[in-house]
């Protein structure tokens, strides 16, 4: 067999002071065959981005290669001079970063950024470089490429920016493209489109790809080979399909089992214990969290060959393999605790009691004024109504810009709604310019950016004592704080630490503990767990469920993660550009979806999971009209795969009501939709799962 295009052998990388604790990569070996895609999977902090940066010779200040070598197309990268390397990067190896809006220069036109590499590496003149740039933009499926060249990055949507970044990477026809979490910031529909594009490019250009992601589903569809990383080590690597079906490392197994899926609802979400102490730096890095760990795990273990190029670093890999393929062990003991079964209230009919929170006809608009003349109002939240029963979890889903967060901000009183009413236990809240303290106590929120909402210089005990001081005018005793922090599975030794010294997962749980401390009746989680890895998410979701049963708190759960919300929520609201297009029980709404917009969300999620319902035509690139722009007719009309005709553009859709509190806003009658959708999304097990 010919030598792989890129080969990383035994690479170790460390930062000052270069001790074991700061060794971020340990004996990493990887290979990318020409024309193939390698997926690197791991939690945050597993070192997967460092691998990319090491290949690109762009380690952060002080980073040093301790050991090992990197070979690209037969040449030793680590032995090259600066000049030699510079002729390689951009020309042979290209890079696409996670955040497209940050990796495009805001003050240069798209065309300039696309062509500068061509002039440099290929010696092209301006005219031919421009022609090639147009062809590239066309290749990444951007419409109107000629006009795009003269636009600035901020004038494009996130999905378009990422396509431009990919085009930029392809500018000099490289043989290897490294993509670091290329779809993390994008919504599911755009994400699917980008991944499809990558698949296409790989085939057409015989392009080699390294795709780094914590989204297992994203990698599964594209990668020929995968490497699973943990604690700076590649714990398992080899061909993608067999590993996804039946991993040979206990960590891979748990990670893959923790992946919530739309289609396989009865499968239990396995639990991986938290990483409490620091990751062991010798032996298996995962052994502290591993339920199968034995004494031998602490010894150095190079790796075992499962099958040809399939390597695992698990000492007990034979036992792990013996557990059988992943999909067969669907129902194990955990099933009893599956979310869908337990958190659902005994019957949806018990909502006769007064709702804890009721929101009706809520509108929040940004009226822009210029030189005194008011402009067309932009509505971020447009006529939203819902009720939240005691102990109920309401999921709010929709892509970015759909007004989910603005809705949350209205409910907690951070922004004042333009119209409509918000009632907490029957008490009208919209009249307050600032909520009274008691109302604040009852409605708590956990924000998406946890790190930004915890005071970095305060110790955790001060942060956590604050709600008691504020709402109860007393300073809690130490053991009370210890109980509080233990309730979210954290150890008391964190209390004297500053918030900035906590890990991401610890911050997340501390924020949750802080929000629970005043015993709120409504808890809003605004994309609070979107940045967490699959295994972490499941843990946190479990925590929320346990606490909810204890305290009877109602929860508004805002997310764009469809499979996850299915496990957590009782009822769902689907939002699009500030407008509610579908409401109903979580179990019903996804199987099948009624509203065409919900359909595109479900379709995208399923497609990510590797299933390809072929019927839905690829929706056009999300246009860049501002979210909630005042539109006549149905806001979704221009993107709708089931558009009826002009009626959708001229008349706003009627709200149709169905059984079990289900509502949709669409011109197509509910029964017709039901038939259409059932044909494509045959009832899946989730229908049975809703045993209530």
């Amino acid at each position: 067999m010919a030598e792989p295009l890129l080969q990383v052998e035994n690479l170790s990388v460390a930062y000052p002071p270069y001790d074991a604790e700061r060794t971020v990569l340990r004996q990493v070996s990887l290979a990318v065959e020409s024309g193939e895609a390698l997926g690197i999977i791991g939690e945050s902090g597993s070192g997967k981005s460092t691998v990319a940066l090491a290949i690109l010779d762009y380690l952060a200040t002080g980073g040093r290669y301790l050991d090992g070598r990197i070979r690209f197309a037969g040449k030793e990268l680590t032995a090259m001079t600066r000049r030699q390397k510079r002729s390689l990067y951009g020309r042979e190896i290209a890079y696409v970063a996670q955040d497209p809006s940050a990796s495009l220069n805001p003050s240069l036109k798209i065309g300039t950024q696309l062509t500068e590499g061509m002039a440099l590496h290929l010696g092209m003149d301006a005219e031919s470089a421009r022609k090639k740039a147009v062809a590239l933009l066309d290749e990444v499926r951007l419409r109107d490429p000629v006009r795009l060249l003269d636009r600035y990055p901020h004038q494009l949507s996130g999905g378009m920016q990422q396509r431009v970044c990919i085009a930029m990477a392809l500018a000099c026809d490289p043989s290897l493209v490294i993509l670091d979490e290329p779809t993390t910031g994008l919504d599911a529909v755009t994400e699917t489109a980008i991944l499809d594009l990558l698949k296409d490019l790989k085939l057409k250009r015989r392009l080699s790809i390294i795709l780094i992601s914590h989204n297992l589903a994203a990698v599964a569809g594209l990668a020929d080979a995968i490497a699973i990383m943990y604690g700076g080590m590649v714990v398992e690597s080899g061909p993608a399909a067999p590993i996804f079906a039946r991993p040979a490392h206990r960590y891979s197994r748990l990670l893959l089992d923790a992946l919530p899926s739309l289609r396989a609802p009865s499968r239990a979400l396995s639990e991986i214990p938290w990483q409490e102490a620091s990751i062991p730096r010798t032996g298996c890095p995962f052994r502290d969290r591993c339920d199968m760990a034995i004494a031998a795990c602490a010894d150095e273990f190079s790796s075992a060959v499962v099958n040809e190029s399939w390597l695992t670093r698990c000492v007990r890999w034979k036992d792990v393999l013996a557990a059988g393929p992943r999909h067969e062990c669907a129902s194990d003991a955990h099933d009893e605790h599956a979310f869908s079964a337990q958190i659902r209230p005994a019957g949806a009919g018990t909502t006769t009691a007064m709702p804890v929170l009721s929101v009706s006809s809520l509108v929040h608009g940004y009226g822009r004024k210029r030189l005194g003349r008011p402009e067309a109002e932009v509505r971020a939240v447009d006529d939203v109504s819902f009720e939240l029963a005691e102990g109920e979890t309401l999921g709010v889903i929709g892509e970015s810009g759909s007004g989910k967060s603005t809705l949350a901000r209205c409910v907690v009183g951070l922004v004042q709604p333009t119209a409509g009413s918000i009632r907490l236990a029957g008490k009208e809240l919209t009249g307050f310019s600032r909520y009274p303290r008691e109302v604040c106590r009852q409605i708590q929120i956990v924000f998406q950016n946890i790190a930004g909402s915890l005071h970095p210089r305060k110790t955790m005990s001060r942060v956590l004592a604050r709600p008691y001081q504020l709402y109860e005018h007393r300073t809690p005793a130490l053991d009370e704080l210890q109980r509080l922090i233990a309730s979210v599975g954290l150890k008391a030794h964190l209390l004297p630490k500053r918030a900035s010294a906590l890990s991401g997962g610890e911050k997340q749980r501390s924020a949750l503990a802080r929000a629970y401390a005043p015993r709120p009746s409504v808890l809003i989680l605004d994309e609070a767990f979107s940045a967490l890895d699959a295994s972490m998410k499941i843990r946190v979701a479990r925590l929320i469920r346990d606490r909810k049963q204890e305290l009877g708190t109602s929860i508004i759960f805002i997310t764009h993660d469809l499979p996850f919300v299915k496990y957590v929520a009782d009822r769902l609201i689907v939002m699009y550009r500030g407008w509610v297009c579908e409401t109903g029980r979580a179990a019903d709404i996804l199987s099948p979806p009624y509203h065409p917009y919900t359909e595109t969300l479900v379709w995208a999620a399923l497609r990510l999971e590797g299933e390809r319902p072929a019927t839905l035509p690829e929706t056009a690139e999300r246009d860049s009209t501002p979210a909630g722009a005042a539109v006549k007719g149905c806001p979704f009309a221009s993107q709708c795969p089931r558009k009826l005709g002009t009626i959708c553009e001229t008349q706003s859709p009627p709200v149709r009501r169905g059984a079990e509190g289900r509502q949709i806003a669409c011109h197509i009658p509910m029964d017709d939709l039901r038939e259409m959708q059932l044909a494509e999304y045959p009832p899946i097990a989730i229908a049975k799962g809703a045993r209530a």
């Binding site: 990067y89 890079y95 805001p106 240069l108 590499g117 930029m168």
Partner: protein
């Protein structure tokens, strides 16, 4: 964008109108009767009343304000009471001197601030960087009369006599003579701004160097000088230039002190003369011009920021 510019210019005029009102009101409130001052204390009441009528002081103040403002709008600042001749021609030559001084100071600020700021940022963490940062802190904290005096002591005759400490007479005695007289006052005027702008430039360049688009540019294989010229500087200049222009007016205000130290025939000394002599039309004229320089500096800053940052251009449409 044109509409934004139009509205900015409109704002500028509105501010100038407000300034003119304030300037007039303040001089109006100055103690002392002008006519008495001109004629001396032993003038008879008739003589005083006569002169007041001659100067138009018997008219109501709003009427005098209207005449003055319409005069200012057409470039007529009235007559100096002390010098007994029109202010406008004197003002014009003095203003030209001051603008030249500020212009030279601005060159020093750009060289010292923008260039040094960038260079130190590129050598972030080295001894050069630490030295400059320390010097910059000293520079921003020294008032002009101190720097001016120190510079005169060092170069203008105290320690060495390289540069003349005073006596600017334009370029009539040759170009070098003119320039040599400009260097010390311009340096004094530039020190604070250069240090301030340099510090801002240093931090923004450091930030931009860490940005993902600079990483993307480097990973395209671009040589470092191109990364800096094409990708770093255009983005790093925006805050520094904005601050620089916002402080242009402030710098122009600084000439009052500097011109006095170096006996420089500019608008600042003219204003001091006006104040000392209670020559209120001169004070009004100088205050108006300095205020206008301030407001125009801000306007230029806004326009430059628009040119540098396409996102602002977008927001301005």
């Amino acid at each position: 964008m044109l509409r934004y510019l139009a509205s900015r210019i409109l704002y500028t005029f509105a501010i100038l109108a407000a300034v003119s009102f304030l300037v007039f009101a303040v001089t109006e409130l100055l103690p002392g009767n002008v006519a008495t001052m001109i004629l001396g204390t032993d003038a008879t009441p008739e003589e005083v009343a006569n002169l007041e009528r001659l100067l138009g002081l018997d008219r109501p103040s709003w009427e005098r304000y209207a005449t003055w403002v319409s005069g200012v709008a057409t470039g007529d600042f009235g007559d100096s009471l002390r010098m007994q001749r029109p202010i406008a021609p004197i003002l014009a030559s003095r203003l030209a001197n001051s603008l030249l001084l500020t212009g030279v100071a601005l060159i020093f600020v750009i060289l010292g601030g923008l260039v040094l700021g960038t260079v130190t940022a590129l050598n972030h963490g080295t001894r050069l960087d630490r030295t400059f940062s320390a010097v910059a802190v000293i520079g921003t904290s020294l008032p002009e009369f101190v720097t001016g005096t120190v510079l005169v002591l060092l170069f203008g005759g105290g320690l060495m006599r390289i540069l003349p400490p005073s006596g600017y007479e334009g370029f009539s005695h040759g170009i070098w003579d003119g320039i040599s007289h400009l260097i010390l006052p311009a340096l004094t005027l530039a020190t604070i701004m250069a240090a301030y702008v340099g510090r801002i430039m240093r931090t923004t360049v450091i930030d931009v160097l860490k940005s993902e688009y600079v990483r993307a540019a480097r990973l395209k294989g671009l040589p470092e000088w191109r990364v800096i010229l094409r990708h770093v500087l255009p983005n790093a200049l925006v805050p520094a230039v904005t601050v620089l222009c916002m402080n242009l007016g402030w710098m122009f205000g600084g000439i009052v002190v500097v011109e006095e130290i170096f006996v420089f025939p500019g608008i600042g000394r003219m204003m001091l003369f006006g104040i000392a002599e209670r020559d209120w039309p001169v004070i009004q004229a100088c205050a108006m011009v300095i205020a206008a320089a301030y407001v125009l500096g801000n306007l230029i800053g806004d326009v430059l920021a628009l040119l540098l940052d396409p996102r602002l251009r977008e927001a301005a449409t």
